[in-house]
């Protein structure tokens, strides 16, 4: 495949990520911050986020399955998750956090458990999407091309 075709494929894929709401302008900002001094900045931050998300999701699962549920603790976890997902531009994950916090405030355990499932699903989806994105970038670079900035 020619570099220009790879670049077009990359642009199309990136565009779809934005259109489907997986990432937002904050993700673009992270990409803009990446430079020669730290060429893997985005991948590093994203990797940290998913490591952190595994711990948080585990903690949430455990806390929601205890009796009685410590909603303050759940809320604290979700608040943190909202902040970190917002920082990397993982829009759909962040949106589930907003709904999750509303259920926390209502002390609605069933609602929280539902949100937890949603959150796991969204994390899984965006993780796969971003892994594909990084793979496409790698292919372009290895073929001697430059990674385009897609809007």
């Amino acid at each position: 495949m020619a570099v220009s075709q790879m670049q077009q494929r990359y642009i199309n894929f990136t565009t779809s990520l934005f259109q489907e709401g997986f990432v937002d302008e904050q993700f673009t900002q992270l990409q803009q911050l990446q430079d020669e001094s730290n060429p893997d900045f985005v991948a590093e931050v994203v990797c940290l986020f998913f490591e952190d998300s595994e711990k948080l999701l585990g903690d949430l699962s455990k806390t929601l399955n205890q009796e009685p549920v410590d909603f303050k603790r759940v809320d604290g976890c979700v608040h943190q998750f909202k902040g970190s997902s917002s920082s990397i531009g993982a829009r759909r994950v962040m949106n589930t956090c907003v709904t999750f916090r509303a259920f926390c405030q209502d002390k609605n355990r069933e609602g929280c458990l539902y949100c937890l499932q949603q959150m796991k699903q969204e994390c899984y989806l965006v993780k796969n999407k971003l892994e594909t994105l990084f793979q496409l970038e790698k292919q372009i670079v290895e073929a001697g091309g430059t990674v385009p900035m897609a809007e």
Binding site: D35, L48, Q80, S84, P148
Partner: protein
């Protein structure tokens, strides 16, 4: 048309050595600036650090207000500092919501400590709560920014930085932490303007 990825960070790095400051203040050399960033979330610290480094020479990140006070050389018992502003911090950017000591608590502690009170404090928060914003600005914060922090926010922060030399506070000094000045009112307006800029689609207040 395929273009190479631009890096706003690259452009900003070229401008980093340029003098900055505003409203007739003495120009500030940004590559001498040291910012202390406080946030309990690791991912947010990483992003903030990268953002700040596009505009400031040195960035120190800590995960708590308590740790921030240690870095600043603050001693609780004497309510003083081991050496005046030991790490020569020129600005503090702190998350509002943190376990233990909050960003607001840190702001108050800095304000009431003689050797620290000249350091401008900016609060950042993921929550757009007007009462919180008002109390932080009234409490001496130079600005209140809704997360996530953007490059445009960081560029504006340069205006709050005090020059590294010991400049006597005057009415023209934007970073003065003295009595409420027109600069603070401008900061208040800026924060409110920032809220509407950030959430143009929300007619009222956003509660999350």
């Amino acid at each position: 048309m395929v273009t190479s990825r631009m890096s706003s960070a690259m452009r900003m790095k070229k401008e980093k050595n340029a003098a900055c400051g505003e409203n007739g203040n003495e120009p500030v050399q940004c590559d001498e600036m040291h910012v202390l960033a406080v946030d309990d979330c690791l991912i947010e610290r990483k992003v903030i650090e990268k953002l700040l480094k596009t505009n400031f020479f040195k960035v120190t990140t800590v995960d708590s207000a308590e740790r921030a006070l240690e870095v600043l050389g603050f001693h609780e018992e004497q309510s003083t500092c081991a050496a005046s502003n030991a790490f020569k911090v020129n600005m503090i950017i702190t998350d509002y919501c943190m376990p233990g000591m909050t960003g607001y608590d840190l702001l108050k502690k800095v304000q009431e400590t003689k050797c620290l009170k000249e350091i401008p404090v900016v609060i950042i928060s993921s929550e757009n709560v007007p009462q919180r914003i008002t109390s932080c600005l009234a409490g001496g914060a130079k600005d209140f920014i809704i997360k996530p922090l953007k490059l445009a926010d960081v560029t504006k922060l340069k205006g709050h930085i005090k020059p590294p030399k010991d400049v006597v506070s005057t009415s023209a000094n934007a970073s003065s932490s003295g009595p409420v000045s027109s600069k603070r009112k401008i900061s208040s307006g800026r924060a409110r303007g920032k809220m509407s800029e950030r959430r143009p689609r929300v007619g009222g207040l956003t509660s999350v």
